[in-house]
Symmetry: C2
């Protein structure tokens, strides 16, 4: 038989949690999905490390293979669905798939953030689709709305809570007045945090997602090294409590913001006002707020992780790509990074700062710290002595907005004061 079959052929690379969620979604709603595409689909090949391992999806055991290369060159595979995760071997397989003229759907945030530029360019040059809605915020529609529904706007800012693990931890630290380590252990027991949680709690995962969102929102090419990130390990139960008293909630924020022709790109814990729409995004939920020149503020909210929610995004991408295949319009929504945008160095970014200091409980300490801040033109919004134990005072400062460089220079001198035992925490306050 030389004529291609009428079905849309799918080939999977990987069949873990997201892969299984995708297949479960495709099979459960097959009739509706095929009506939407206008053609039937068939899952032809699945490449996995251990083909004979049992999996919770209803697929013919004969389609499993250990050979990813066989999937990407199979002439009956039209769309390659990459759900392995990590940069290699995903990058090599996808490049090969594009060389073989396959459309690609991926949910791999690390790959898109680190190697997306090169692969998206390959796809565009070949008029192939490369869709990756599942790479950011699980099932929440955000990539396509940014590319299409908000395309007429000049985007001013994207602010997201895009990591479920850290949001769960911060939510529980607040509701249970618990320490980071205790809630992390709890999250690991519940499967919300990995055995090695560093990718989540140190901010890298959110930084991958921010790089992807910012590249699209600002029609540019954000490289991972452009994104400043820090995690939540230094946030204490006391910080969470003090923030609440001040009328704030602490969240791990991913912020991309246009500043003239340059971009601010940063992931860090931040204090946001308790009545901010993101402040009520709790537990493992994610949300992304976008501010556009015409639309104003819009927010997208939902489950940011999990096999079925992410599978919803991957399977919906498959439908969209299949529709393009049916009308020979693949590559229609190609990547077009037409702006080259410089990045604002962190030292130049103006923020309010929250600073918790442990000092000697003695007259003159606050005066000496305030003098240093004043010398650096950092003005003080509030100072509160929270507690004193054994001659050590805990003092919480909130500054007015100041460039980070000036604040850090002051902080260096403050930490050198003999009366200052420890810089407990330093957090940014976002309006």
């Amino acid at each position: 038989m030389t004529t291609p079959p009428p079905e849309i052929g799918l080939g999977f690379l990987g069949m873990g949690i997201v892969g299984c969620g995708t297949v479960e979604t495709l099979l459960a709603n097959r009739a509706e999905i095929e009506a939407r595409i206008g053609r039937p689909f068939v899952i032809r090949r699945v490449a996995v490390a251990h083909p004979s391992k049992p999996r919770p999806v209803d697929l013919d055991p004969g389609i499993y293979t250990a050979d990813g290369a066989a999937v990407v060159r199979d002439p009956h595979v039209d769309i390659v669905v990459e759900v392995i995760g990590g940069v290699e071997p995903a990058r090599t397989y996808i490049a090969s798939a594009l060389e073989h003229g396959k459309q690609v759907v991926s949910a791999n945030k690390e790959l898109i953030a680190k190697a997306g530029a090169e692969l998206l360019q390959m796809a565009a040059a070949r008029k192939l689709d490369f869709a990756f809605e599942g790479s950011v915020a699980g099932g929440i529609p955000i990539i396509l709305p940014l590319k299409v529904s908000l395309a007429a706007n000049s985007i001013e800012r994207v602010t997201g809570i895009v990591n479920g693990t850290t949001n769960y931890i911060l939510t529980r630290m607040l509701s249970e007045s618990a320490a980071f380590e205790d809630v992390l252990a709890q999250a690991q027991r519940l499967g919300y945090a990995e055995a090695d949680p560093s990718n989540d709690v140190d901010g890298a995962d959110a930084a991958y997602k921010l790089a992807i969102l910012a590249s699209i929102a600002f029609s540019t090419r954000v490289r991972m090294e452009d994104v400043y990130y820090e995690g939540i390990r230094s946030v204490t139960a006391d910080d969470v409590t003090h923030a609440r008293e001040l009328g704030y909630v602490i969240k791990l924020l991913a912020i991309a913001k246009r500043s003239g022709e340059r971009l601010e790109l940063r992931v860090h814990p931040g204090l946001i006002p308790a009545d901010h729409p993101l402040a009520s995004v709790n537990e493992v939920f994610n949300a992304v707020m976008v501010k556009g020149s015409s639309v104003g503020e819009v927010m997208f909210y939902g489950q940011g992780a999990g096999g079925l929610p992410t599978g919803s995004a991957v399977a919906s991408d498959i439908i969209d790509v299949a529709r393009n295949l049916c009308c020979e319009a693949t590559g229609r929504l190609h990547d077009s990074p037409f702006h080259d945008r410089a990045i604002v160095p962190m030292a130049e970014i103006r923020s309010q700062f929250y600073m918790r200091l442990l000092t000697l409980d003695r007259p003159g300490v606050i005066a000496s710290i305030a003098t240093i801040l004043g010398d650096h033109e950092v003005s003080i919004a509030s100072v509160m002595q929270k507690a004193s134990h054994g001659g050590v005072a805990e003092i919480v400062w909130v500054t007015h907005p100041a460039p980070e460089g000036r604040f850090r220079a002051a902080l260096k001198l403050i930490s050198d004061l003999p009366t200052v035992h420890e810089i407990g925490s330093v957090l940014r306050v976002e309006p």
Copy 2:
């Protein structure tokens, strides 16, 4: 000159608030928009009732005409943008535009809800685009996310706050403990309500939007007569206060829900728990929650009205249609109402009910009402006597879930009791 010009030609029908917001958006971001499309665009013709009236957009006065027919048959117009509103003459012009092979973008909720079926079918038969993101919830992306980003899901429920006027009124009735009429007058002064507000406050506007959302979410053809709707005129400041005491907020809800193979379709004020994500959607903001089989609950939030936010949706639709023109893929996302779904009669829908009664303040009154409810198998969740003035008691009842038909039958008998002066309000409670 016989070859078509390389520009995408736009023709506008109407140039009111939304038209001006669209043009302002297109002109402000022309360079980025043309980079996204890959071709320049030009606004060729604008049909308005009064061509010489001054308008706050920077368009060549020579392109205005009073003749809509001239716009829809202009050979240099590729996309007809209909922002007149109302069914006629919009329907006739759009039908003619489609007959002339034009792509159509519309923000006209009443037209899409009442005459969309016929026009969308015409467009699909001719492989033409007909986009209408601006018809629901202003600039909030919801039509495209439903059609594409959530396409792999079987949608279970859509619940929206889709009318800004009523949401403003209900928000202010709560925050100011004010009466409906007073807040309505305030909203009219601020331009949030029209001189004749009935289309908004009586629920028709929200019903149009629900018909559009439900048609897409459930791949069916919802007719306006399928949508039950009631407005907020009967909601009193007392109801708002009592609801708050019970832990609820009153919102005008638009609900479409799958019930087996049938659909519930209804717009009415409802009590929702104060911690529900929709409860904090205040003032003129809109939000739509969608529950999908794989994605779970997702929410879309933003400004649901206004020239620029709605213009964002219309201009983004224009970009998307222009992209399809460039790759000859118009009609790719055609309307496909493949399900014929029966509508659940209101009498069969199970809800909890909130009921405020004015009765004689006399022993036995509560017992006689409770007996009637019990006889109809409507069980009581709570009863509170709120106040008594001049021998008249105000009693607030909340029932457990019961079919509306049984509750209404009981209500009829209750209203006939000689001890009952008045059925103050009856509202549904949504979980």
